[in-house]
Symmetry: C2
Subunit: 192 residues, 2 copies
């Protein structure tokens, strides 16, 4: 049995190595540079090994997305925990979200822009994704206002943040006023 356990351990380790390497490469040079050949070379295995762990490139992106979702949830909770009052929490949440998107663009893309083959907004949505949404909901539910379903409010607020994050990074919005845009968004959307 011990032999089999060791093999499984090694296999799991190699899988983590694949995901970590894909992420690293994506952050360094963008997802376009993450080819199966380059990835295989970096982990010092041949290409087919990748396919013994994942169905294809899409699933690797999905794995990076799940990892990122857990980190984002932690980052959001960390930011809101040290803020006083609902209004301050929402501002901290928005800033933390945009900071995460800016600081981990490849991970953010894996989560929300690319197709990682993951289910969203459904029952069989993977737990890390549900939890990241829950982290948003925890602070945003407080300021949804009367008669507005917290989930619906969270969706709208999230969409606005997502729009700001993607349009800014794609050069569609000038980066200078980023701070003022967040202020305006929180001012108007949150009911304190």
């Amino acid at each position: 049995m011990s032999v089999q356990e060791r093999k499984e351990r090694e296999r799991a380790g190699r899988e983590r190595l694949i995901v970590a390497t894909a992420r690293e490469l994506a952050e360094q040079q963008g997802w376009d540079a993450v080819t199966t050949r380059r990835l295989a070379e970096r982990i010092e295995y041949s290409q087919p090994v990748l396919y013994s762990h994942f169905r294809g490139k899409r699933e690797i992106i999905g794995a990076v997305a799940l990892e990122g979702a857990a980190e984002m949830a932690a980052a959001l909770r960390g930011a809101t925990a040290v803020a006083d009052g609902p209004r301050a929490r929402v501002t901290a949440l928005a800033r933390a979200y945009l900071d995460f998107a800016e600081g981990n663009p490849a991970v953010y893309d894996a989560m929300f822009r690319l197709d990682g083959g993951l289910a969203f907004a459904r029952e069989d949505t993977p737990e890390p994704l549900k939890d990241a949404f829950a982290a948003l909901l925890e602070s945003l539910g407080e300021v949804a206002g009367d008669g507005v379903r917290p989930g619906l409010f969270t969706e709208v607020f999230w969409a606005a943040l997502h729009g700001l994050a993607t349009l800014t990074r794609a050069g569609r919005l000038p980066p200078e006023d980023a701070g003022r845009r967040v202020e305006l968004l929180v001012d108007r959307l949150a009911v304190v």
Copy 2:
């Protein structure tokens, strides 16, 4: 001279054909299916002909984006023209924007998600793109509220719409509550 003019006319016609065919193919099967080989086959010329009109695939995407921007601007102005009062105009604008994004997903992607090699939010931004933003500004400037720069307000509102459009289409947001989300967005952001 007449010969040269005829040639230029034919050339311009073929360029329109390329752009129209690329757009059609993208709407039918997605941008991934728009390969230079398939595109060349559809216009019944060989691949290199594409490169005598455009530097590469990116520029073709850019051309589709410009065409789409003009159409979107017209659609937005058409929708707001028949609405009474600032509040109704903003609602109509938001609906028209999301309808355009849903009805022309490939064009929308060319404009705002893919890299078409176009400059945004700068002086040398192509006129159609500036005009599409202007169409947003015309209705949104009315409801920016005191002390808020209309341009900044428009950017935030636009980002929210963009977030809703992209997250919904990518399956990140359930499509059922789309209408309610727009209502909430207009309610909170617009100062009537």
